[in-house]
Symmetry: D5
Subunit: 129 residues, 10 copies
């Protein structure tokens, strides 16, 4: 049975909730439609987050991204929306989403949005020499 | 009015048919569907050709590529088919199409196919030091 | 009807004004004239900003950049002027413009200027390990 | 049901047997055991071939590569053996296998072997300027 | 006698315990099994730490990594577990482990976890111009 | 007095006409106008030639390239025309011009054209190991 | 009339003194003589500064750099001297000079020196995600 | 007379002791012997320091590095020892030594150690946009 | 028992003598002494060969390379000598040795030498598109 | 006693005249003066040759290159002259000189010239797969 695109994001239990740690995910195959021209747009998504109780399940993330294939979406709006959906599904301590869109009209655009859990403090960054 | 995907390839007159010269075109945004899983596949297309009477028009090439967005297509078959369509539309002296597909199952695949006009000889390659 | 160069920058509503987020835009095709020699100069522009109520519309940005094609412009002055125009049009929370000019006389020059809205504080940077 | 490693290579019909064309496959995840020390060895495999009637099926190729995970194998021998297995399965017009092994003892090794069908001539290479 | 995989991590005395200094270790050859599919997973491990009394012995680290070859392991869990084992063996002032996994389903994942000794303060970072 | 764009190509005497040798020139700052949209196009020109009696003077080449700044020009036509002008001015033994145009509509195009003096044979290429 | 090397640095008025902004200049063609051996030394200079009332004029900077062609100069001393000369000429808010010298005796050396105007504070760095 | 390896580090007077500035030195040709196996080890050394009254003389540094050619040396110990010797010879305000060793057993190791003069404060880092 | 440098090259039986295939070996850690100055020289060796009956054993190659550590050797001579020793030990169908020496006096040198068995013809090169 | 620039090229006996082999030399520090403007020009020289009885001595080559520091020289002429001088000094079987000049007027130029001994045939190139 072929798989289906779906906006439902599935999660699994964070195996180490007592530690702030980082998960980074790169999705090079995001595509949607330009609301103005109807033509396809393409982007690479970069997600990084500190999980609380839940981690995003990768296969459902792939189906979620696929679900934008036939939707019209503006760069700035869709980046914020995907972040919101991921935050809603995983309720992370911190999450950042970067979308780097392919060149259009000779111009390169990317959008970066972040969510921070109320009251959460990033662990003090240790910069080793 | 939004533009539409279309398998119709348009051409324009080769402005210099008396000379064998090379046109190279890179299309990083090819996407189709995997006939086995139904999931999206992605590739970059590299086209190089020596035109005879006709050159492929770039905007129609973009619409042509777009037309694969909802089609199931195997890597080896679709590369040969696109080459055949481009050859039929432009009747070039020589044409080569390379499709580099994105990694699947940890494996990277690309396919390269060529067409040569009957009786056409490539100009003797000049390798300058 | 062919499009025209124009110094008018158009904007659209920021779809997520309640969040500080980043938009990055790269324009590799800036060209103007050197006021001393009259000869063409070339640069790549890198814009990054945190929008308030308005985002710069990309097509009008392209026309805006085009409008410098026949103008004489010094490196330091034109970078500051373009920043000022973009700030005036979009009234962002923060904006930074970098212009990397092509080599002249064996010397490479770039200019970077910033605007910060009065009273705006950058969100605390989260550096994940 | 979890999948299994297997030395059985599956094939599918070449969709364009009337044309000499090239299929390239990169497998970055080959691992076997060193027959001398018993420790793991790692390599990237690069396969390129001109199919005749059959193409190698990618999922079975992945299972085939997996089947070396617990086998002892010398660099030179295993490269030739994998080529022989692939030739036997697909009977190609031409096939080349390159194995680049990870550094051992401060020394980098790779092995390249080819098979050419009796009587087959490579299409005359067209080098466009 | 061939060597053996082993989860036992050996250490040697830190030759300079009176100074906070950094040891960085890159292990490009981590492989385990996916608990869902049973198929091999691959990653590169990046370890950096400030030793207290003990440093991890490299050959035993190699045997330790080897011991995961036939184990099922989730990305997030195994990264935290390896860090815990290394912390237990060496009791460092600070330790960070990054695991960059190979692409699966077109998605790239990496996980980063840190341990900091209670009461330890990172030396003030000196950023020379 | 400011310099001026000019289609006049100046030459100087080849200082070593008794030897076939190669001169390579890269011009990263070609810009013209798209005849369809009126908008600026950009390309990098790569010229390589074996001179006979005359070499192209670099400053006049710069002025020549500048002269396209306000002209409409199709990619394929303009590459062939510039080659023809350079051949007419310098009457070289061999000349090749490559124009790599900036991305338009998500598609990258380049054009390569050559001229060979009647009866001239390229020196036998020496490939040293 | 051929131009001449000269230690005189010329300046022009900063077109935007009310704003702290950055000018970066790279000079790949610095050469002087080694005081010990008399042989030529080579370096690339990287200058970055925040101007106050004056900016350094690029052509005079080129002539200034040229003036070291016949002078003996130690790496550490000459980097500090050039910085001092540039500070004296332009009285900037901040200036940093990096000199990366070519390898000598198998060893690569670079020197970095800074000047900060008394009482000047760098604008708070904004690190956008 | 051929030169000789020597552990004696020579210095020269810092030409600008009134300014905190940075000297960076890269030595790609460090080699010693592994105390366990007797076999050669190789590393690249990266030194960066802020001199006080003395700078290290490069030729003597080369002879010093040469003196390790026939010595057994552990990675962690030798990095700290070389730093100590350089600190003793030059008494710098700050010094950092990084040693990146060649791969051994499929594992890459580097060691970084620092010395800071008692009471010395690094100049406030200026990060220009 | 620690291992020892040795000029004795050991071999093993070519597992596939009926096929012309290529073995490539890179040795980044060659060091000898300059006969003029007595100082260490460094090079990377690149070996590629088509074996006949024997292949060079890697560990003995490592010991062989180690044996040059205390020998004086000119670049051109030592490259030819190492090739001769390897040819004598393995009697290959074809062998090529490239030695890339580290920069000396600001000049980079490499030497490439080949041996071809009398009567051996290289397999016709197949250049796939 | 400081060394001196000199146009005298010294040679040493080819240690392996019975074999055609390749010596490659890269000189990144060529500088001369532009005959039109008097200003310095810079280039990297790439020399490759098959020696007959004599090899060029590297230190004398360095002094030879140095001797152009105060001379006016056109790109095309000086490349051919240096080749002629090297041919005269070493009488090689084959020699090729490439000079890549630094950008001037936004244009990059390089010149390549070859000498082949009368009657010498390049060894048949062996292209291993
Ligand atoms: Ca993009
Ligand atoms: Ca892609
Ligand atoms: Ca691919
Ligand atoms: Ca620039
Ligand atoms: Ca390898
Ligand atoms: Ca590998
Ligand atoms: Ca990864
Ligand atoms: Ca990997
Ligand atoms: Ca460009
Ligand atoms: Ca292009
Ligand atoms: Ca340097
Ligand atoms: Ca290393
Ligand atoms: Ca090296
Ligand atoms: Ca070298
Ligand atoms: Ca240079
Ligand atoms: Ca150049």
């Amino acid at each position: 049975m072929p798989s289906q695109p779906s906006k439902t994001l599935e999660t699994f239990d964070n195996p180490m909730p007592e530690r702030d740690y980082t998960i980074r995910i790169e999705v090079p195959e995001f595509t949607c439609l330009c609301p103005k021209t109807g033509q396809p747009d393409f982007a690479t998504l970069y997600l990084e987050y500190v999980p609380e109780a839940k981690c995003v399940e990768l296969k459902s993330l792939k189906m979620y991204v696929w679900a934008y294939r036939d939707e019209g979406a503006f760069h700035e709006k869709v980046t914020n929306t995907i972040l919101d959906d991921l935050v809603k599904a995983t309720e992370p301590r911190f999450m950042r989403l970067t979308a780097k869109f392919n060149v259009r009209g000779g111009i390169y655009t990317s959008v970066v949005a972040e969510h921070r859990q109320s009251g959460w403090q990033a662990p003090e960054a240790v910069t080793l020499p």
